[in-house]
Structure formats: C-alpha cells, structure tokens
Assembly symmetry: D2
Homo-oligomer: 420 residues x 4
Amino acid sequence: MIHPSLMPPITALPLVERYQRIRQWSDFLCQPLATEDYVIQSMPDVSPPKWHLAHTTWFFETFLLLPHLPSYEVFHPQFGYLFNSYYDSLGQRHPRPQRGLLSRPTVEEIYRYRDYVDAAMQSLLAEPLPDSLEALVVLGLHHEQQHQELLLTDIKHILALNPLRPAYRSDLPDLPPPVPSPDRWLDYPGGLFTIGHTGSGFAFDNELPPHPVYLPDYWLAARLVTNGEYLEFIEAGGYQQPEHWLAEGWVMVQSQQWQAPLYWEQIGSSWWVMTLAGLRPLNEAEPVCHVSYYEADAYARWAGKRLPTEAEWEAAAASLPLTGNFAEHQYYHPAPAQGNTRPDQVFGDVWEWTQSAYLPYPGFQPAAGAVGEYNGKFMCNQMVLRGGSCVTPQSHIRPSYRNFFPAATRWQFSGIRLAH
Amino acid sequence: MIHPSLMPPITALPLVERYQRIRQWSDFLCQPLATEDYVIQSMPDVSPPKWHLAHTTWFFETFLLLPHLPSYEVFHPQFGYLFNSYYDSLGQRHPRPQRGLLSRPTVEEIYRYRDYVDAAMQSLLAEPLPDSLEALVVLGLHHEQQHQELLLTDIKHILALNPLRPAYRSDLPDLPPPVPSPDRWLDYPGGLFTIGHTGSGFAFDNELPPHPVYLPDYWLAARLVTNGEYLEFIEAGGYQQPEHWLAEGWVMVQSQQWQAPLYWEQIGSSWWVMTLAGLRPLNEAEPVCHVSYYEADAYARWAGKRLPTEAEWEAAAASLPLTGNFAEHQYYHPAPAQGNTRPDQVFGDVWEWTQSAYLPYPGFQPAAGAVGEYNGKFMCNQMVLRGGSCVTPQSHIRPSYRNFFPAATRWQFSGIRLAH
Amino acid sequence: MIHPSLMPPITALPLVERYQRIRQWSDFLCQPLATEDYVIQSMPDVSPPKWHLAHTTWFFETFLLLPHLPSYEVFHPQFGYLFNSYYDSLGQRHPRPQRGLLSRPTVEEIYRYRDYVDAAMQSLLAEPLPDSLEALVVLGLHHEQQHQELLLTDIKHILALNPLRPAYRSDLPDLPPPVPSPDRWLDYPGGLFTIGHTGSGFAFDNELPPHPVYLPDYWLAARLVTNGEYLEFIEAGGYQQPEHWLAEGWVMVQSQQWQAPLYWEQIGSSWWVMTLAGLRPLNEAEPVCHVSYYEADAYARWAGKRLPTEAEWEAAAASLPLTGNFAEHQYYHPAPAQGNTRPDQVFGDVWEWTQSAYLPYPGFQPAAGAVGEYNGKFMCNQMVLRGGSCVTPQSHIRPSYRNFFPAATRWQFSGIRLAH
Amino acid sequence: MIHPSLMPPITALPLVERYQRIRQWSDFLCQPLATEDYVIQSMPDVSPPKWHLAHTTWFFETFLLLPHLPSYEVFHPQFGYLFNSYYDSLGQRHPRPQRGLLSRPTVEEIYRYRDYVDAAMQSLLAEPLPDSLEALVVLGLHHEQQHQELLLTDIKHILALNPLRPAYRSDLPDLPPPVPSPDRWLDYPGGLFTIGHTGSGFAFDNELPPHPVYLPDYWLAARLVTNGEYLEFIEAGGYQQPEHWLAEGWVMVQSQQWQAPLYWEQIGSSWWVMTLAGLRPLNEAEPVCHVSYYEADAYARWAGKRLPTEAEWEAAAASLPLTGNFAEHQYYHPAPAQGNTRPDQVFGDVWEWTQSAYLPYPGFQPAAGAVGEYNGKFMCNQMVLRGGSCVTPQSHIRPSYRNFFPAATRWQFSGIRLAH
C-alpha cells in the first residue's frame, strides 16, 4: 500500500515519474477487487472497473503513441472500438450501456494492455517532448485521475447494489472525530472578481479564459450541511412536500420514490449508510453525501437559504490552502467538520453543488482536434460542482476546477454548502 | 375580425375593459376551429384548445373569485381537478399527458364556463380593487396572453400532425416582401449593465430584481438567420456531422432522426413548410423557425459564431422601440428582414434562443402563495429565449421578458440570432 | 329509435335492404354522442368512434366499389391511408396509436363519406351480383357489425376514463330482475365431435373447416360467474395471492395494480361499476364482466375449477336456440341469470373466455387476397372467447363463432363460465 | 474431458452415482470459461453461468436438504433470496433482470456452495429414500439438466454478443459430413392416438395425463429445413414481405430489424454464423437454427407448408429410437442430415417449433407444493417445441417431452420441420 505522504506534490516530479506514479495508483485502487467486480456495470452511468483501466490506457495509445511514437503498433485492433468513450470524431464505438455485457478481454488481458502501453510510453517519455505533446501527456494524466475518482465512485455503486453489501476494503482508517462546529456564516463583500484559471499550471479548457464577473455581497456557510441536519429535513416531511422542490425534482422524488440520499437505508428504526468500508450506522456529524442537485436545492429552500453560484464559491476559495480530505488519505468517505472559524471542508470531502448551470465562459474555445470533445459538448443541462471530494486525488484539483453532472445525479460524492 | 389597430395600447385601458378585450381575443383565436380541433393533444407538451380556454378561466375563478367575490360558487366542482395545470399546492390534478383523452366537458360547456366566470369578474371589477388584487388580475391577464400564444402554437402542431395538413385560416394576409439585408454585425462595447425589469409596469417575478452584470465587448447580427442560410447548413451535411453538436443534441438528432427544422418536409426535391395558412413552399428570405436549442447552437458553431447570452440580448434591446411582427398583425408567421442598418426583428417574429440557462437572478424571490409556483420551480434544465414572436400579443412583451423551454423544444416559434 | 323487434331476422332480407339496416344501426349507435366523443382514442386498443364509421365505409369502398363499380371515384384520395386498419398488402397506413390525434376529417365530413359510399353501394346492389361479390358484401356487413360492437365497447372506455363519468345514454331500459339460480353443473359425455361451421350460411374463414375433435367427459356450469361470487374471490385476497395466477397474470396484477375487474371502483366501502348508463352500484346478481383471461383463469383455479375449451363450449352450445341478451335489446349490459335448469346466458351477456389458444383448425386456409389478412395472421398469443355479448348484434353470432383477444384484455365485455 | 460414451445410460445407475455424474457434468461444461464469463447476463432471458450453478444447487438445498436432512444448515442465509428463480410461494427473490449486476458471491464461493450441498446430498442419499423423496431428487436432476442446456445456450449468447466473438471451446470435434438428402415427405394416416407420457419412468407434470387425440392424415418432412433452404427464403425477400408473417411476427421483423436468424452475420457478401467454436462460414447443409416461431411459421407459409402440431410430432416420434446429436457428443451444433429414407434429426440437433400453444392436457394437475410452480403457471402465450437439441443431455429427453418458449425466442437452438 502506498502511503499518502508519498503521493504529493506529484506535479513537482519529472513527467516520466509522474506518469508512473499516477498509472500505478489506478492499479493500487483495483487491488482489493475480485475478478468478478471488474466486470459489472450497475447502471448506465457506471463503467466496469476493467473498462476504466482500459479506457485510460486507450487514451495514451490513441492520442500519444499512435501519432507520435514511430513504429508503434496497437495492442489489439478492436480495442479502439471497445474503449473509446465518447469521441465521435474517432469513429464508431461500443454502446455505453453495454459495457457490462463484455466478459472479454479478461482482466488479465487488460493488465497486459496497460503494461504494453506503459512500456511504450516509457520510450516516448525517454526523450524531451515538444510542449504540445507534453501538454497532451499531462491531459492524459488528469484524465486518468478523473477515472481514478470514477473507479471508487463506481465500485461503491457496484458493491452497494449487491444485497450482500460487501466492503471494498475492511481495513480503511477511522475518520477523525468531529470538532463541534455550529452553523456559522462567513460574509463576502461584492464587487468585480476574476473567475477562471489564471496561473501557468494545467487547467481544462472549460476553466478558461479568466474573465471579470460582478458579484453582489454574499454569505457562505463555514461548513457543509451534516447528515444530522439533513435528517431533520427528512423527518420534517421534506420528501413529501412539493413546495420545496423544483418541478423536475418533485417528479424524480415521486417516480423514483426517493426518501433519503442514495446509500441510506432504514433497518428497523435506525438509519444505515453504505460506504466503501461496508454498511455502517449513520454518523450525524459527517457531511451529507450522495444527494442530487434537486435534493441540495430543496434542502436549501427548506432551510430558507440557497446554494452558492460557482463564481461566489470560486471567489471565496481562491485564496484558501489546497488541503483537505482527498483520496490519498484513503478514507474514501467525507469527514466531520474540524471547526467553523474559517471556511472548512472547502476542498475534498464532497463535491459541492452550485446553482450555476455548466456553460461556456465568455470567449471559451474548445481545444483543437478530438480532445476538444472533452468538455464543451457537455455544456447543456448539467450543474456545476466545486471543490473535489474524498475520492479525488489532491493533485488533480484547483479552485477554478469545474465538475459538472446532471441535476438528478446521486452516485457521485456530492453534498451541500449553503449560501444566502 | 378585430383589426390589430384596435388592439394596443391595451395597457392604457381601464382594467375592466382590458379584461374584456384580452378574454375576447382568446375566443377570437378559436373562432376558425372545428369542434373536433378543440379536443386534440398532439403530444404531451401540447394542450387541447378547449383546455387552454378552461384553464385560463379556472385561474380567475381560483385566485380571484373564490377568495375575493363573496357568495361566488364554482361553476363545476370537478373543474378544479381538471383544469389546474401544475399548482401542487392546490391539490391533486388531472395528469397532463391525458388532457387529450377528455371529450367532456364539451366545447359548448367550456364557453358557458367562460361566460359564467366573465360575468362574475365583471362584478368583481365593478368596484375599485386593492392594489394586491389588481396585481392578481393583471397577472391573470398576462397568464391568459401566454395561453393565447400557446393556443396558436398548439393549434399549429395539431393541424401539422394531420396527414391532411389542414390550414387554420386560409385568409391570413400576405407577409411583407423582404428588403435585401446581407449579414451585418452590430458592435456593443462591454461594461457593467443593469439587467432585469426596472420600471413600474407589470413584470413576472423571474425578471426581478434588477442587478448589475458585467459584459465583455460583443457583436450581434443585425437580423435573424434565414431559411436560406439554414438550408446551407443542411446541405453541407450539418445533421450528419457530430462535431457541430452538443452531445445531447447529437443524441436527439440520431434518435429522433432530425434532418431539418420541425414542419419542414421534402416533397420530391423541394422543401415545403407547414404554416397556420397551410402547407407552403419554403421561403428562403424568412427567418428560420421551429428549431431546438440544439439546432440553434449547432448552426452557430457551424457558422463559426455563437448564440448571445440573455444579458447581451437585453442590454442591446433595452433601448429599442417595442414594435415588430406580433400576433395582432395576424400573420402568425415570421416575416423577412426589412433591412440591416439597425437591429431588426428583435421583437416579434421568432423567440431567439440565448446560450443562457434559465436560472434565478441574484436575490430572486418567488411570489407568495400558489402563484409563486408560476416561474421559480422551472429554473432547471431550460434555456432562455427572448423577444417574443409572431404569435405573441404585443402588449405582453418587454425587453426584460424571459421565456424558457427545454433545449429539445421545437414546436415553439423559436429561431436564431448569431453573436460573437 | 329503432325497436329491437324491427331488427332480426336480418338475414332473411334482400341484400340491399340488409345493407341499409346494418349501416343505419351504426349511425343509430352514434346518435347519443357529442361531437367531441367521436374523436377520442382512450388507449391504443380503442379507436375513435368516427374512425370506426369511416373504416367500415372504407371497407366497402376498397373491396367492392373501386374494383367492381365502373367509374367509381374515391371520396378522398387520403382516406385509404387514414382508414386502412391492418391490411399490409394495401400499402402504408396511418399508425394505429395515433388515431386519436386527428381532428380532421370532421365528424360531419365522415357522415358525408358514409352517404357517398352508401349511394354508390345502392347502385352496385341494384343489380344481382355474382356469388363471390355477394359474399364480399356479406363479409363487409359482418365486418360492420364487429365494429358496431367495438363502437359500444370503445365508447364505454372513452366515457369511463373521464373523471366526470358521463353516461352514454341515460334512458337505457332496466335489466330484468334475477331469477334465483344457485350454482349447478351440467354434464356432457365425451366422444368424437365435429367442431367448426357446417351450414351453408356465412362464417369467417377461421371457423373452417369442420373437423373431428375427441373430447373427454366434462361438466359446464349452468350459468355465468356472478359479481357476488367474484367479490368473494377479491375479499378472500385473490389479487394478493400469486398461487392462483399464471406467471404472466401475476406480473400484470402487480405492474398494473389490478385489484378488481375493469370499471369497478370502490367509493368509501361500496363498490360501484361504470356502465353505458353511467356509474351504478355493483349488482351482485349480474355476471362479472370486463375481466382478463388471467383473472378468469385465476378465479377458476381459486374455485377449484377450470375454464372450458372452445371445443367443449361449442359441442354444448351447438344445439341451443340462438337467443339471449344482445345489442338489439339495448341493455348494453349483461343481465342476471334467469334460471339454472338448462344452460343459461350461453349467447349474449358476456363473451366467455375459453382455455383454448386461438389457432388454425386442421386444414385452415385463409381467404385469397387482402381480405385473407382478416383472421389468420392473428393466430398467435390470443385466447378464444365464445358466445357473443350484450353489445353483439344477434344476427352476427353463431355457435361456431370464434372471437379472440390477448390474455390481458379487459375492455371487452368478457366474463367467466366454469368447467371441470 | 469426459467422453460421451461414459455418459449414458445414466438412468441405469444408482441414484447416488447418477447424482454425482449429472452434477459433475455442470462443472465440466463450465471448465472452459474465464472467471469473467460467469458473471454476464447478456439479456434478461439469459442468466450468468454462476447463477445457473448456484440456482440448481439451491434447488437441492431448498427442496431436499432443508426439509429432509436433519441438522442441515444453509450455506448462506441470503442465497435463498439470490438464487430462487420464480417460486412465488417461497417468498421474495432477487429480480431476474438484475442477475448480471452481482459480482458477489464470487465464482469460487459458488463452487464451495456446490461442494457443501453435494456433500450433504451424499449423506441424504446414503440411505434408501422414500419414493416421494427419490422422485424429488430425480426432479432436481432433470432440473439440473435443463440448466445444463441453458448454460450452453446462455454462454453462446454471452460470447456472441461480444464484438471479439470469442470461442467457448476451440477444440470441439468436426460435425459429420452431410449425406445427400433431398426433400422427402413421410405420410402418417390419421385416427385416435394417445398423447402424453405413459411409461413408468420420469416425466414432468405437463406431459400428463396421457389422453386420446384425434388426428387427420398428415405428412412430415423426413429432415429439418437447412440453412441453404432458409437462405432462399431470405434471398427471395422473405423478411421484406408482410404476407408471410403473423401480425406479431411482422411487428418484430420491423421493430427488431430482423433480417436473418440470430447469430448470422453478413461480412462482405458472405454469411457467417457464430457457434460455440467461434465464428464460421455458413454451412448450407446444416439445419437452420436460432429462428423464432415467427420465422419458422413465415418460412413454412412461404414454402406453402405448415409446422406440425405437437400431437402429430409425438405420434410420429413415439416409436423411433431415442438417438441423435445430443450434448454428450459435444458438437454443440446441429449436424447435417444423414439421409431421408426414414425420419431423420427427430431427436437432438434442434428443438422443432410446433404450431401448438403450450396448454394443459385434459385433466392436468400441477404437482403439490412449491414444485407445482414448475410448469403449469407458464401455460399461456408460449409455443411448444419438441425433440431436444445438440445441447440437450440425451438422458433428459423423451418423445412426450414438451419444451416451451414465447414465439419471439431466438437464442434457443430452435429449428424447423415442415408438415402439410
């Protein structure tokens, strides 16, 4: 097992080493799995773990090795069809909802595929690369980190759906105990702010260009909404009262019979929560997690508050240290607040729903070529989430980082910070 | 037939007369219908014309007469169940997709219902009303005007779906001939602008509060995209090339087999268009109409441009005269541009898709009580359209008016103005 | 109103007069309808009444007038597209589930269509016809009679779905009071029987050829299962106990939440039943009606009995007088048993589910040409019903008559006779 | 590998040895699988191989060990929930369409379950059993054999769906070469026949009681319809012409875009067929396989013939030797005809669709208790197939054996014998 202290600051490493470290972390995450676990697609949004391992490998094969490593030969002629995710410009691909119908290639074969591509990447990275190629490698590594987060997110869904409720790992460390943190509001004076990525480091195209945004005065809660607070909403009849809900949210509540966040289950009179360490009693001090945008918005309305906009969130987060409960700590679960005197739980723990739709920034230009399909084409009917979660690698996140999911999404590690 | 010159300025009239005029216009719009036309729901988004006539009446009965006219008795005890549209706080209602399954109440009975409620409203309006009630009546009249637009929109859909392609009216006036208007860009310098309704007149809650927005420099096309220009996109393979489309849009193109705007049909080698005057050859000078947000966005991307934001649109439109091709002209069809030296076709003709998601303005507060369900609860997964159309009553529109529909919507009179 | 005594024996009339009588009966059935009622398709199985009126007319136009009346011109060039039901060999047709989306042609226009075709048929029938053509006219009249039954069946569904529960006719005569008829079994010794139509009169191709069938000894109930008896099944938990049900039936019970026959509704603690005379309290002496095959089979199993086969039914019914509660009596509702000393309620009242699948008789040959699509192509996944119902014209039925519907069908006037 | 000569006559063995042999054959069938193959459910009708292995084991645990082996303890408390197939009387069960979402229990754990139950069964079988228990064990073994057939059928579907088209086994023996066998008709004089199981050996309840059936004279084809003959139907436009098809069949052809039997694929101008040995060129001499009832019926109609009834088939097959191409030969693929002088390919090769619906025989009584859910509750909307196939164990079949599937089923090894 790799200790988290060994991980960051990964960006300081030479590229070839950074490549190895990040690729190995994917393997590390899959170590606890049974072969059978690698195969399951528990719903269309989820991909089988072996698909994640192959798809991230395909990314390097397709965008780096084939065009740029002379005499490189593809590992298998049909893997391009099987492991393309959504790049329309690269031709036909295997339908997403059928990823769980494939027993072959086997897990072993996919690990051979990874080794084969890693060896070739080693050759490619042996010599200094032109900046544009180096940027593509870095993009591929951030892409791999996104799938590392998805691996944990999807594994949790796969195991939680199983009536046996198996644990992913039974040896995960205990969370730190809560520090009493009553509700507290931090105030932020309004004005013109520059939003978007400004530094020289890596950023996705959707964080660009930086641009001025006018914000009114606003307040943010010092910490996240807790399970205990959310339980009050449930017990007050929140899931039975349409007045708190967006129209679409109320349709979901009724058609999907939502009565609590995903992974909560009532056994007798007690609430339990499925975690990557197995089924555990609900801890009221932990941040509420696995709620949809509809639930986050309804909770906020019930509480007489609202969700922040992404600009409000970013303006407040820009100057904070980039630390928190990330995947490297291997809790894989959001931790209770550690105080309320300054903004807490901003990075890590849970992705925070904002009330901002995922739209292009003024002057947005998608990257050229097939990698330009990365972000821009999803800018419709999704909401922005900010800050990363307990399954996000720390080196993957930035204050300007924009995550986005449809409003009904619940299998992500998503939670609530209130604003007004 | 009521001549349009008789119609505005309706807001200058005493309320009782304004009530009569607006209510009569609904009846006028339905005059050309056969009894059978009143019954059809051609898709879940469409309501049968008789439902519109009853629902707008129910609004006055429910929000004005029952609470405020002493001794008022409901016309029929089950009409509250049948003609509530989406007000959850008013109890159970008839399921929307089943509105076309009701032969009863008959059309005649619904006109009796209108007469009954109009007579009672006459009593209520005979005496001066407190401001809050007067505001509710005005809201009811704007509500009726929204449904007048929907009546024409829905009637078009009902008739267009019929293989006989019947005309709504064969006596509609000819559109004005086009004035040559080559593509031309108007430039707007950036800065801080106040967006939202500011005057003392009526506005919906979603136009409030007015608030500062920072805009960069931008350019808007002087006129709308024409059928001829859109045809170039079609003939260049626009509907076959995923690179122009949002991911969701491309799914729609393929699953719905979209190949042209709604109501276009190819007969032999010619394009025809269904209109409220029946099937007509495509006129290349007219603005393209009945396109979804996905199509508007794909066209803009193909053309190397983009759609405006709603703030850009409003800042540009705020100072323009509120004239255009509105329902009162009874063309019920968008007209060719009349020049390009100044912004043309801004009001009327077609609703213009913006790239702005429909979200609350900073500080938005929905109205209290059931009428608060009017706007706020739809603020998710819809895009904003601006400017009104050829089926919008002129007295209903304002520069700050925000219309909103899901991105796949095509049966509205929706078109495209480019920006960059 | 036409008194039933005026109706039969219609087969004794000259063909031209028979044509007129039967065609007029369709009009008579529609007289009580509001124009709006003619338009509704309350579910895909139901057709709007105006569609029935036009489709039966189209049958004469297509199969008689166009090929056989020189210089006949079609009433409207698109009616062939609109009013073909399922004849694949006649080309494309309007999709069945969209019949309720057509406001045009109007009801008035369809009556003009009927008049136009009737006048032309008058010409055709003025001279003696060759036998094959006369047979086609007779087929067309039986076809019209089938749709007369469907008209009443569909009108009942259309009105029952309406929350106002309007009556089709409030002037229908009272049913005869029940004659006490306790359960009684009639025994039928086994042997070889000839099954299928043998006489010289009209029969559908599916009743042919007559052929020997070996039957074991069997018993049939002297009368139909009553509402009261079926209520015992409900109250004993029949709809909650899977052991009585076919696997597919149990899936329907759960997915459709069946708890009683179609058109039963519980108001407070009482059961009510929707009829063509409006909503009425449940009469326990009447035969249970509007049950699916699944319910008929489950009831029989619960009662320790079974349903008869179609051969058993036909062998028992062959020698009985062809009288009963048919459409001509204008009860349009099944009547209580009038005794149990001999087989009662065999013809009329309700169609009796048999446990026989609808399959070809040995040596079956479908008729040549498009009319051959009449019966044979439905011989899969349907069950046979026998005996006609209270909405079947008396002159339409025979002991060898085979009706057939999928096992989940409930909107037909279908009931239960037990066997063992 | 077990040579087929070692297998039969299994019924002659002592029960304990018979138990071992049949249980081992299930393991043998799964030997070639990768762990990943065990997990896949390629469509709702298919079960993952590991589910089959566990479910057949659960049968012995539930019906034999728990009630009859003192002090037996269940292997796992939740396996009853996970591995019950459709026995409603045994309580809630895991939903069938979600069998492929379970990675746990792992394959290894399921083999441990099998060992555990086998050991306990060994104890139970060590002493002589009362007849009723012995009958239950024999039922359990026939149940296991049914799932052995399903294992091969489902594995074929799982591998065929995979774009890599992997072979189940690449070492399967070659099929015997064809013996020229032109089309030839065998005639069978009519009369009264006894249909159903008569001997003292094992039979399912649905083969009972034996009963007289009257048959007219009939003819059966001496051999099965070949791929070459079926190809003529395809090339003559059979899949484009509605006149050959049952109405429901035509709906399937159009909605599912059927153009050939399942597992056929056209690569360039050649037809290939997926088999358990991988993708192979179409062999025109082999019997056509993997056709639905709709296709079998359409082919017969196109050829001017019909399918046999199950009584005709059984009367003809009753006296034939029970030999053929069964699973023990390990071809796992239908073989070409070996002549036409006497009925060929009657047992083994492919299940033969009959035109008989699956219905109870006169006097049918399902077995008492939960095992009574075995057959009777499926007697609706299924067609009977006869004779076994190349994946059926030889010791499992009888002339009176009734297999049954819905008419749209294609993944079974189902083919066509013509009659007239």
